[in-house]
């Protein structure tokens, strides 16, 4: 007996996803909705390679050294250069803006939906690759720039049909926190402890949180959010006047990254069974100074596709899959293959998205094939139909049939 060659696995690499047409269609739906929304507010798209010099992620201090070594894909190329698969987009866009700072007008609005990589132990919801909307304004210190970013975060979710009651935007300002620490005369060490404590708040029991707070000489009342700083109160009022009512002050919002310098926010799912942070962002005024001595202020956010998709699915805001192909032409005989192609060409010039069968299988099998691929309509093309010029259009979901004249088909599919 001849030796059977060893077969390869059809599995993808661990912790990443294959996007079969059904999954790709959800990505396309999400990214198209996002693009339309952010472009309406004047953001323009950019992109970059996933490959970045590793040093780009090393410059933010010792904690990043750990990030580069343990949580990223970093390897040495054959030229001896250390390369990292980007774990986030902010350092890349700071690099790009610094690189052409004089070519741009400010305020500069930019967005991208890059894939980013983390070296994580694969587990549910912890993927090694995901896509992330990045929205940023560069070159403005205006509080209206901060507010616009919050408005975009709000607009992205509502553009999918999410309601105000589905999420809440919690906002704070690092400057208020800094002022508070100064007022309380906290040591650098105590202040660092306070930031870590606030960052961990949502993962702690209230009693444990309060105890740790009191150990720092701070009462829960002092960070309760009952006294809203004037600037944040004004912004929240202006949002209310514009009909946006789910933005709240929360002095415990802090964001992990050290590079934030002003406004920070987190968007929370209001589902009581899934009350978690969906995404967040804030103001970072010094990032471009990694590249030169003239910092450009920035404010923005990043939102991951996995979290967004779960949020939309939980609210039934994702439509069931339908192929982008509108109609399938089945054929009674392979002898008609050329005539079917000619007919298909005519429909395509009329704007219809048409796939054809080459007549290699029985008609019943051809129809089953179209259904399997979620193509919504079917036309059987035979001698009779070609000579009469009248075609039966079958809706493969409802089973309904409708007779349409050959030259009426483009208009028919333009309307469905």
């Amino acid at each position: 007996m001849p030796e059977t060659p060893k077969k390869l696995s059809t599995e993808s690499y661990k912790g990443v996803r294959d996007f079969y047409p059904e999954e790709q269609s959800v990505q396309n739906f999400m990214f198209k909705t996002i693009r339309e929304m952010v472009e309406k507010v004047g953001y323009v798209e950019y992109n970059a390679s996933i490959l970045e010099p590793a040093e780009l992620y090393r410059s933010k201090g010792a904690e990043n050294e750990e990030l580069v070594h343990e949580q990223t894909y970093t390897f040495v190329d054959r030229g001896g250069r250390e390369v990292t698969l980007r774990p986030e987009m902010t350092p890349t866009i700071a690099r790009m803006v610094a690189g052409r700072r004089r070519d741009f007008g400010y305020p500069l609005r930019l967005y991208s939906i890059p894939n980013v990589f983390r070296y994580e132990r694969p587990q549910k919801g912890r993927l090694r690759e995901h896509w992330q909307l990045n929205v940023d304004i560069f070159g403005s210190n205006s509080p209206y720039a901060d507010a616009e970013i919050l408005g975009v975060a709000y607009g992205v979710l509502t553009s999918f049909g999410a309601k105000e009651s589905d999420f809440i935007i919690k906002v704070n300002n690092r400057m208020h926190l800094n002022a508070f620490a100064k007022r309380k005369e906290l040591s650098a060490e105590s202040f660092a402890s306070l930031r870590r404590l606030l960052d961990a708040k949502n993962k702690m029991e209230v009693s444990a949180f309060n105890e740790s707070l009191l150990a720092l000489g701070i009462t829960p009342e002092e960070i309760s959010g009952n006294h809203v700083p004037e600037d944040i109160a004004k912004m929240i009022d202006e949002f209310k006047a514009a009909g946006i009512n789910n933005i709240q002050y929360d002095p415990s919002v802090i964001r992990g990254f050290d590079y934030y310098t002003g406004m920070v926010f987190e968007v929370y799912d209001t589902d009581p069974n899934n009350n978690r942070s969906l995404f967040g962002g804030g103001r970072y005024d010094n990032l471009t100074s990694l590249f030169d001595n003239e910092p450009i202020p920035g404010v923005g956010f990043g939102m991951g596709d996995v979290t967004l998709r779960e949020f939309l699915a939980s609210r039934n805001l994702i439509e069931p899959y339908v192929s982008t192909t509108q109609v399938y032409l089945a054929t009674t005989s392979s002898d008609l293959a050329l005539q079917v192609q000619t007919f298909a060409g005519e429909l395509r010039r009329g704007g219809v998205r048409v796939a054809v069968d080459f007549g290699e299988k029985k008609l019943a099998d051809q129809i089953r094939m179209a259904s399997k691929n979620a193509i919504p309509y079917l036309i059987v093309v035979g001698e009779d139909e070609l000579s009469s010029g009248t075609f039966k259009v079958k809706n493969l979901t409802s089973g309904e049939e409708k007779e349409v004249l050959r030259n009426g088909l483009p208009a028919y599919f333009g309307g469905v």
Copy 2:
């Protein structure tokens, strides 16, 4: 004097590109045109991670061992797995189709525009990362499937406005070449030499090529293409009947990859100063058998973004850059920032893509900013305009101005 911290370079990693808005806009234009064209012929989009198990590229014999080791980005992850940044998409889609073979209907039409990676010495036109349209039909042995793939190759170029005289499609069939080798009783070794020679034909002097050919016992006349095989002649005639006249038989077309089994083709630029292969493809009937014992026939092609862009640029088929933002709202005072935001919100609900200035700079500077970012229209919003409800819309290219009433603006921008 305090020590100045070392600044980072704003350069990207060697051999890859940054896509600033102007460059991203060309990518978006190319990919949108391609998507519309291929979806009209019934192709549906898929995607996958750039990370693949390295073994996926090892299975095609010794020549691929070299490819994996010397021409790809392959590294060992912390779990000891060898990972490759995909150098092409065909092995990935063969893996995906084999993995869900029973879920699909056939013929199955698929496309993707993935980025792919090659470890190359960076030099002009030899990038380490590029994007590549991949179009494939699985599960059909029909010659009409081969013809459809040629038709899509033709359609992609003409959908950009390229003329028939701008390119030529040269077609061959590996089976005819195999039959020729058998007829000539070529040894396996001589046949391999012939294939290598044909693959190198365009890089050789005619005299050197003919000499090598004669050394194998073959006359130039025998592979001149003067005697067109019947099946190819029929296909070319059917294309002519459909008005497509730039498809030619060329027995020297061979394609490098070993996995092709039937029809093969190359699309050539007809520019006498740049008469090179733009892209190509063919039929590969055994690729999915790497994964199981039930091969699914396939036919398709891959087309790179860099080559396409150069071709389109040489024919003036790429429009100059204009921002996706339609209009910039400048403002005479930062005190009006909130009112400008309200006005912008109104325009956006009317479908206009609007960016606002926060009024931090002088008016002349605001207008210069809009021009720098290639935003085509400008409206200056001041007390007078807000109270009168009449706005001057300025075309920033022509300098022309037009007065438009507040509620007429969405319709105005819907029309420009």
